[in-house]
Amino acid sequence: MRLRRYFQLGTSLGINSWFEGFTSKSVCQLQTKSICVPVLNCYACPSALGSCQIGTIQHFMVVHAIPYYVLGFLGLIGTMIGRMPCGTMCPFGFFQDVLYKVRSLKIRIPEFMRPFRYAVLVGLVIILPWMTAENWFSKLCPMGTLIGGLPWVTISEDVRSMIRDLFWIKISMLIFFVASSVISKRPFCQIICPLGAFFGLFNRFSLIRLKWVPEKCTHCRKCQEICPMDIKVWEGENTGNCIRCLDCTDCEAISVCTVFTGARLAAERREQEISTELL
């Protein structure tokens, strides 16, 4: 088993380890709830120790304020490691990775669907909550349904009595993503996730980066095969689609570097190319 699986499992359990919530039927109110977790995890889960950053951004949009704390916090993580939390820590990403292990027909998600997650980020998280004073993404979030809605409906009769039509829409969306995760790689992360879209915007200039060396590449496409996001690394190793799981670094053509060493290596390669041309 890959090392990142332990990280994913540890993070999923670690940030949801206030199990008292299930017996006391209350949301954790510890100081830890003041901190937004850098992964998709519902604030409303009975055992959640942290809060949801996407929910917090929407809340600020609803009250017409700028979320300086959340944007600064997430932005700093993005500038350091890009989209790495998606690949190594996210519980919903882990859930999808596990579902994809189920033997079934496998299909590739068309690349043209990927930019839709930016529309979700700008639309459902920023513009629509600002205009309509409603948390549109949280209303539909499948992770919220999985670890927030479903446990609450199961343990609390009061919450059960509050179920409206929206709950069944949420359940349908969850079922859709569970089913699609079995047949394709991380469909939610590829097409919908606004947090992944936000972190992905930092991939091109984050401190930790990937470096693909064309001279060492044999074009065997194994990197795409093992990539949980089905990326063609040779077409762009630092695009917003990469979740920095580092699985592809098993290949000697792909390595981890920093924003500084990457630039130096590129300059060296350019110099080498020029000198070869001159010869």
Binding site: F60, H64, Y69, V70, G72
Partner: protein, 130 residues
């Protein structure tokens, strides 16, 4: 009713941005051109909404001016500009280390402002999301 019309207007802008991306994709435009088109439509939607609010005047316009006409907003505006221009790949710079340094500075400043304002843990579960 106001919420529904707001939702429809927002969705129209989003669909327009996604359609623009798809049309440019099929027409064989480069990645940076697609990003530029996509971003421009979304930026236009935000400018349009802000302009409409300011033109309408009243309390909402004052609220919006208070938000933007603030030195603290510079951090977020600078970060948004960097993300938009460099993060999307519209501009390919070889000075990525410098961009990284500036990003760290402005985002750290934003975080500092947020912590100073005690902006955390403001989302409460009250059953409305069901």
């Amino acid at each position: 009713m106001e919420n529904v019309s707001g939702l429809l207007v927002g969705l129209i802008w989003l669909v327009a941005a996604v359609v623009a991306w798809q049309v440019m994709d099929r027409a064989g435009f480069s990645s940076r051109s697609k990003w530029a088109g996509f971003s421009l439509i979304l930026i236009a939607s935000i400018i349009y909404e802000c302009a409409a609010t300011l033109m309408a005047g009243g309390e909402e316009a004052e609220e919006l001016l208070d938000l933007i006409w603030d030195w603290n907003f510079v951090n977020i505006a600078a970060a948004a500009l960097i993300i938009l221009v460099v993060g999307t790949g519209i501009l390919r710079t070889k000075y990525k280390g410098v961009v990284w340094g500036i990003s760290i500075a402005v985002l750290w400043a934003a975080l500092h402002v947020g912590i100073g304002r005690h902006e955390w843990g403001e989302v409460f579960f009250n059953g409305t999301l069901l």
